[in-house]
């Protein structure tokens, strides 16, 4: 019997007290193993690291012990530089190990990533599940990868870009990492996905631009996943990564039906992303049935010019009313502001901050604009007068309305206000 291909899927997750694990890697593994023929030919292990707690040296310690045949890295703006450096170290120490990368940080700028990182052998663009499985099918049968859709790869000195792969539809083709036992649910750190795509096209966001069509996982699959969490004694809180949980009233009703039993048993949903402007009394009832205890929302800015520049619209009154309704009904509100959006000067940012705090959310979260590959702002950055760090995480450096000096002041002010407000 020929030797199995040993594969390690790994990433550095954002630091949190509850230690996140990667849902994306779970999807990759569960999709790959659904093919019985491929399952016989691969061993796949997932290792999650923390971007703040773990250094490359520690990760290398594991990798050099495991000596995988292929390492698949899930790359995001917060871990890209670290992973690129790690990939180079791995190639130096284990030149026979193949390195594959995927994720929103690398897909949109695949050629640039491959050119700048000679240690990377394969890059999956867009949704990685089917592309990764197709790549492994070729590798395990000794065939060439030239027909693997969605793949960018190195062929000698040449970087080859295969044709695009269609999006996976229906989404249920991807087995649930939880129902297959690929991922073990953990309290606070468990995230479900009920759909992919976004109806909005916020200029700073990857989701809406690249996945404009909404594709949903089936109700039956969602129900089964929730029932699994319901039966888990250790999971009391979980969440959804859906960009807008209340996409429509009908959808919210469906989610309430699915989550009702778990919620009745005390399972709660935390930091659900919500469109606050469409919250009404009926929504509140449904959110309570779902067990939602906290939500996260914008506005990112209240400056009409900045909103227009990033293709967002906000009705300040509806926004304010929505927050008031949520708070009145015991649902905690986390409100987000972005520093450095186009058309937002320092005083504009201060005014948006004042307005956000006037709504009295439970927590205010500030972040500096990251001009991410694959977003409208990234494409239009020159036209919009945005100067940003080309290295991940692509922090904004200045705009036509905010000098670097003012940006840094805004960050200092934001940190001070964050401490005062959120105390």
């Amino acid at each position: 019997m020929s030797k199995k291909l040993n594969i390690l899927l790994t990433t550095f997750n954002i630091h949190a007290q509850q230690h996140y694990y990667s849902l994306a890697l779970g999807f990759l593994k569960s999709f790959t193993l659904k093919d019985p023929a491929l399952k016989e030919k691969v061993n796949i292990e997932i290792l999650d690291f923390c971007s703040s707690c773990h250094e490359n040296e520690q990760v290398l310690f594991y990798l050099t012990k495991m000596k995988p045949d292929l390492i698949g890295f899930s790359v995001y703006c917060w871990n890209a530089e670290k992973i690129f450096k790690l990939a180079a170290l791995v190639k130096q120490m284990m030149p026979e190990t193949m390195i594959a990368v995927g994720g929103p940080e690398v897909g949109p700028i695949d050629r640039e990533v491959m050119e700048n990182n000679p240690s990377i052998d394969f890059l999956e663009r867009g949704e990685g599940e089917a592309t990764f499985a197709a790549l492994l099918t070729k590798l395990t049968s000794g065939k060439k990868v030239e027909n693997v859709k969605g793949l960018t790869y190195r062929n000698g000195n040449e970087i080859v870009r295969n044709e695009e792969r269609p999006l996976i539809d229906p989404l249920d083709e991807i087995p649930s990492p939880y129902l297959t036992g690929t991922l073990v649910p953990r309290d606070w750190a468990t995230y479900l996905e009920s759909y992919r795509g976004c109806p909005f096209e916020c200029g700073y966001c990857f989701e809406g631009k690249n996945y404009p069509k909404i594709r949903s996982f089936s109700k039956e699959r969602l129900r089964a996943e929730v029932e699994l969490l319901e039966s888990s004694a250790s999971v009391n809180r979980f969440s959804f990564i859906d960009p807008v949980f209340n996409l429509s009233k009908d959808r919210l009703k469906m989610m309430a039906e699915i989550l009702k039993s778990a919620s009745a048993k005390g399972k709660k949903l935390h930091t659900i992303e919500l469109n606050v402007e469409s919250v009404d009394d009926e929504s509140i009832k449904l959110l309570k049935i779902c067990g939602v205890e906290s939500i996260e929302t914008g506005p990112q800015t209240f400056n009409p010019k900045a909103l227009k520049a990033v293709s967002r619209k906000i009705d300040p009154k509806k926004f304010s009313d929505g927050i008031a309704l949520l708070k009145q009904n015991g649902i905690k509100v986390l409100s987000d502001l972005i520093i450095g959006l186009p058309e937002d000067g320092l005083l504009d940012f201060m005014e948006s901050t004042r307005l956000v705090m006037a709504n009295k959310p439970d927590t205010v979260i500030f972040s500096t604009l990251h001009v991410l590959p694959g977003t409208q702002l990234y494409e239009d950055s020159a036209k919009a007068g945005l100067i940003f760090d080309r290295s991940a995480p692509h922090c904004i450096l200045s705009t036509t309305k905010l000098s670097y000096n003012e940006l840094k002041k805004a960050e200092v002010l934001a940190e001070s206000l964050r401490k005062e407000y959120n105390t």
Binding site: G345, R354, E411, V412, L413, S416, E420, T423
Partner: protein, 291 residues
């Protein structure tokens, strides 16, 4: 930015600062009934943050009664202005946190014993205040991980203006969360001290510490408008304005200069600011702080 109900607890204090407007005979506590009434009124305005100032509110024996009432009335954020001396005792820090006070604004008037104690006229006050800041910085609720916000209010007068930048540097080393530079004496000519104020702002921001000014009109803060105290609801003392000030776009929201300043220095420094987009935003933000 955060709208606070500003609650005066009385001029009673255990320091005797040379720059303090309150005299010896004026060292009284405000009747609690008045304070509770003010809290009720603040609640009707929809406020949920309270700023207690004096004097020295920490000296009130009934401070817990006030903070209990604030919390009962739904105030989730309580900030205390203090000289910090009480908090040199760890027990007092714990008691204060247990009262629900998680915001502090500690008054510091010198970077060294000599300067600070000379102004407060209390020997040992500097070491107590600094220890108080250190204790507050190291405190928190172990159950929730909640840590107090610790700001510094630097009261500037002729006695310590040359020490301003060192005081700010001390604040940086003590890891405070914000600094207010407050002109506490009408004897300081603002245009003369502006370079010191600007330098202090640069030191703070370079060290990632936000700093605001109090008692400096906007017309003198060229390029430092974002640090204007009125944007943050600062300014508790009654000010005065010049004859030309009525023409200024921010006349309604500016606190002006300290009482007595115009008699000493006239109003030549005060120049009315004309309408402009930025002034429109400044006025909106400052107006909202007047609750």
């Amino acid at each position: 930015m955060i709208q606070y109900a500003k609650i005066f607890t009385g001029p009673y204090c255990n320091n005797d600062c040379t720059c303090c407007p309150h005299t010896d005979s004026d060292r009284s506590m405000r009747p609690i009934e008045e304070i509770l009434e003010q809290i009720d009124e603040a609640k009707t305005k929809g406020l949920n943050s309270a700023y207690l100032y004096g004097g020295e509110p920490e000296l009130r024996y009934d401070l817990k009664q006030i903070t209990d009432y604030l919390q009962k009335q739904g105030f989730t954020r309580i900030k205390l202005s203090s000289n910090g001396r009480a908090f040199s005792q760890w027990k007092r820090v714990e008691e204060s946190l247990n009262k629900g006070i998680f915001g502090y604004e500690i008054k510091l008037v010198g970077s060294k014993v000599g300067t600070h104690d000379r102004i407060t006229q209390v020997e040992g006050s500097f070491s107590q205040t600094v220890q108080g800041i250190v204790n507050l910085r190291n405190s928190g609720d172990p159950a929730t991980g909640r840590k107090p916000f610790v700001g510094l209010k630097v009261l500037l007068s002729e006695d310590n203006i040359d020490d301003a930048q060192e005081i700010v540097s001390l604040g940086v080393s003590l890891r405070v969360d914000r600094i207010i530079l407050s002109l506490a004496s009408s004897g300081l000519k603002i245009t003369d001290v502006l370079p010191i104020l600007r330098g202090s702002i640069e030191i703070a921001v370079l060290n990632k510490l936000w700093i605001s000014t109090d008692g400096v009109p906007l017309c003198m803060l060229n390029e430092y408008e974002s640090h204007w105290g009125e944007l943050f609801g600062l300014g508790l003392r009654e000010g005065e304005k010049g004859n030309k000030c009525e023409k200024c776009s921010v006349f309604d929201v500016c606190n002006g200069v300290l009482s007595g300043y115009l008699d000493k220095f006239g109003d030549a420094e005060l120049l009315p600011l004309k309408k402009g987009q930025q002034l429109g935003i400044i006025k909106k933000i400052a107006q909202a702080q007047n609750v």
